[in-house]
Amino acid sequence: MVRKYIMENSGTSDDAEDLLQDALVILWQNARKPNFELHAKISTYLFAIVRNQWLKNLEKRKRENGSLEIAGEGPSTFLDDSRMDLKIVRDHLNDMGELCRKILLMYYFDGFDMQTIAEANELANANTAKSKKYQCLKDLGNTIKSKYHKNDFLS
């Protein structure tokens, strides 16, 4: 269904797969929010996400090219990895110690609470996890600041 919809609307099979994967990530992130309520079938929900993402994508292409007839252009989805500032963060995050990396991802991406993070990482308690997270975030910021001028880094 996704494939057919995308392909009938100026997209390719690869676009469809890519969008569906993006949709799953969005679903995951949304599902992690405490106030998330799923009111529709998963397939319906995913399709709605895909469609919205694709419409945004088409709008973007239209703005950039003045036409939807674009050949050979790779998909550009919500998980846009082209922003240099975000790439810098990702690179430095991946250079951090595993514990810091894990804590920051668990907190900011997955949305786990501190107690859960503490248990997962065998830290004494939620306060310890919180302190560690704070320290890790600060370290990440300081490392980036030491290599880049803040104004260059800001998008």
């Binding site: 799953l24 995951w28 599902a31 397939s43 399709f47 997955d110 786990f112 800001l154």
Partner: protein, 380 residues
């Protein structure tokens, strides 16, 4: 000083500030460009962390599907359900999700398929204190739930009701597992559309052609009321559990409509075995029901059901309701719409099953089915 500012900024992004503190902080940002710049800097850092998580998860999905699923996947929805279910299983915190219909179904399939898999990327834990408030319920439930419209649709009106282009159509097979993947299967042919000409201000999210499941109940001669009088049926296997399950080797491939069949594989003893001996089978030569989920301009969800027999057709609209996995059953020539037990009607004692009226051309209200025999017949 800088530490203090950083701490405040991080508290802001971690949603640890009270409303008053947030207001104060916004005022500080407006008046201090240095702090604002630092605040933006941390915002970018956090966005970068999230983007890493997103890309990583996407990569994981891609990898998993490629290595274990993609070769057999002809149906993206199955892929989606399977991937989500797999992710859900990977995270303990989402286990509450498994209480809901679709995820549970998909998760069970994945559990079977990936029993030996040790490829969970993410941290697993068996207990969670994290709670999600996910409801497997209709939204915007109001008392008008049972409003029913039966409208005679003249033959020429069906043309107006046709789906505007671009139209998508594809087989949608949803699978449910009762522990025996080969026990039963049924297909929903489905298509999703972008709009409907008749009320194109509404957003039609899905449209499926539903094949009714025939529940055949042999009744003793001249005892037409037996359905009303028998209190227990005692069918052991839930029909709904076996309604959509593909043969194991063909997971992901939608079975042909003509092959749709539901079998009951086991039964408990019935209270009055001489009176009723249930048999369940699909009916292949039957008119299908067209079922749409749509949203109006207020975002309110409705279900519309049509029996497309020309020249007139029955149109049934359930306002302000969103049923998950709607099924249609036929018992003795009467059709029933089953939206499941767990909707908002449950708190009001409703069965979640509605009789689809036969008469056309009138407007009336209906109530959910109260007859225990019918309910048991459909649910068991």
């Amino acid at each position: 000083m800088m530490n203090e500012i950083d701490e405040r900024i991080i508290r802001y992004y971690d949603h640890e500030m009270s409303e008053t503190e947030v207001k104060d902080f916004h005022a500080v940002l407006e008046g201090n460009s240095e702090i604002k710049s630092q605040w933006e800097f941390y915002g970018n850092i956090i966005e970068g962390i999230k983007s890493e998580g997103g890309l990583e998860l996407k990569e994981y999905i891609k990898e998993h599907v490629k290595t274990e699923e993609i070769e057999e996947q002809s149906n993206l929805w199955m892929y989606a359900a399977a991937s989500v279910a797999f992710l859900m299983l990977s995270y303990f915190a989402i286990y509450s999700y498994l209480e809901t219909g679709n995820i549970k179904e998909a998760a069970e399939i994945i559990t079977l398929k990936d029993k030996k898999s040790d490829k969970f990327k993410f941290w697993k834990k068996d207990q969670s204190k994290y709670s999600l408030t996910i409801k497997d319920s209709a939204r915007f439930y109001k008392d008008s739930l049972l409003a029913l419209e039966i409208a005679r649709m003249e033959s020429d009106s069906s043309a107006k009701d046709e789906i505007s282009s671009p139209e998508m159509s594809a087989d949608v097979a949803m699978y449910e597992n009762d522990g025996n993947l080969e026990s039963a299967e049924i297909t929903l042919e489905g298509k999703a559309v972008s709009s409907i000409a008749r009320r194109d201000e509404f957003m039609v999210l899905t449209q499926v052609n539903v094949i009714p499941i025939k529940l055949s109940v042999p009744i003793n001669a001249n005892d037409k009321d037996v359905l009303e009088s028998v209190q227990t049926m005692g069918i052991g296997t839930r029909l709904s559990k076996s309604r959509i399950s593909p043969p194991k080797k063909e997971v992901g491939k939608a079975p042909a409509v003509s092959d749709a069949e539901v079998k009951i594989t086991e039964s408990k003893p019935v209270t009055d075995s001489t009176a009723i001996k249930p048999k369940v089978k699909s009916k292949t030569n039957i008119s299908r029901f067209k079922l749409q989920h749509y949203e109006d301009e207020n975002g309110t969800a409705h279900i519309e059901l049509k029996n497309g027999t020309a020249p007139a057709e029955v149109q049934l609209i359930l306002f302000n309701i969103w049923g998950d996995n709607p099924l249609i059953f036929e018992i003795e020539g009467i059709y029933y719409l089953d939206l499941g037990q767990n909707g908002p009607w449950a708190s009001k004692g409703g069965s979640g099953i509605w009789k689809i009226p036969e008469n056309k051309g009138n407007y009336s209200k209906i109530e959910w089915v109260k007859n225990k025999t019918i309910i048991d017949q459909i649910r068991n």
